[in-house]
């Protein structure tokens, strides 16, 4: 079985029997899209909520607002039907805490909100999520079943 690793600010799509994984999501969000009818799965590892707040925005996989569309295109190339897609979200943690107003530490929460907004705009339902908290997550999406494995250190493993 082919396992494709998706790095930070990166995305990929596979068809069953493929598996997509991204290791150690912190404040980043793993956006998983799946089309059950064609068994095509996609995964984007986004770092920041919006490409519009940043000058240096050529890497579309880096932002919640631009990654989803690119990911859908990649999935369509593998035969996915855009209308049948659903989504799962994981990550968006706050790894360090401070008693300050430092916005960057809340980036996890903002990444989750931006991902939801984008998916809602595209009418893609979110059927499950494992987000927030103060711990990292490794995720693995199996294109055969669409089940998403979420692994943590000290917070157990979870299938959503």
């Amino acid at each position: 079985m082919e396992t494709v690793k998706v790095g930070m600010a990166d995305l990929a799509a596979v068809k069953a029997p493929g598996v997509l994984t991204t290791l150690g999501l912190g404040s980043c969000v793993g956006i998983v899209l799946y089309d059950k009818s064609t068994k095509v799965a996609g995964l984007a590892h986004i770092m920041l909520p919006s490409s519009k707040e940043i000058k240096n925005n050529s890497n579309k996989a880096k932002f919640a607002d631009t990654a989803v569309e690119v990911l859908i295109k990649e999935m369509i190339k593998l035969g996915a039907n855009k209308k049948k897609l659903w989504a799962k979200l994981a990550g968006g943690a706050q790894m360090f805490s401070f008693n300050s107003s430092n916005n960057i530490l809340k980036i996890g929460e903002r990444n989750v909100i931006a991902s939801k907004e984008k998916l809602s705009k595209l009418n893609i339902p979110i059927i499950a999520e494992d987000t927030g908290g103060n711990f990292g997550r490794t995720i693995e999406i199996d294109a055969e079943s669409g089940s998403l494995l979420v692994k943590t250190i000290g917070h157990g493993n979870n299938i959503i």
Binding site: G24, N59, K62, A93, T138
Partner: protein, 204 residues
Amino acid sequence: MNIDMNNLNSTLIDVLKELGNIGSGNATTSLAKLINKKVDMEVPQVKILDFKDVSEALGNAEKTVIGIYFEMEGDIVGNIMFILDQSSARNLVDILMNREGDEKDLSDMDISALSEIGNILAASYINSLSTLTGLNIKISIPSVAIDMAGAIISVPAVQFGIMGDKVLFIETEFQEDNKQVHGDLFLIPEIESFEKILNSLGVI
């Protein structure tokens, strides 16, 4: 002048290396004083990586590491973070407590000792940066997280992500007797602060 983080020229990289050298040298001296033993330091490596290669750069994105994180304020705004792997963290605490190592998990006391060590290392690092640049820089109290390397690294990576598509870090190795302590240091000034530092050094 605007700095393009994606295309740092070799002079800038040399300057950053030299800053790393002096900062780590100072940190080494502080550590030696703290444990009252001779501490050797390897010449720090400055690494510039693409995001997708970052989490693997520490060996394994799922490996448990300790991150000690500080905010910088004053003339420079940004963050500084030390990342230690578990065996380095244990070695460091063993050296500090003057005890033989065991394989137990880090206790709360160990973690509090580590955050104090991190504090001393970061402060001496920042002091040398402050002296060199003539800029006033202060650091916050430390915040510690023990988790997957990828998740810990994502914190500085996201901050670099605002400036460009590369991550810059300084890798330092300390050694006392046969106990190796390998640390990664991320110095993440905001882009204006980064320019301020280079400006004050007369590089740009």
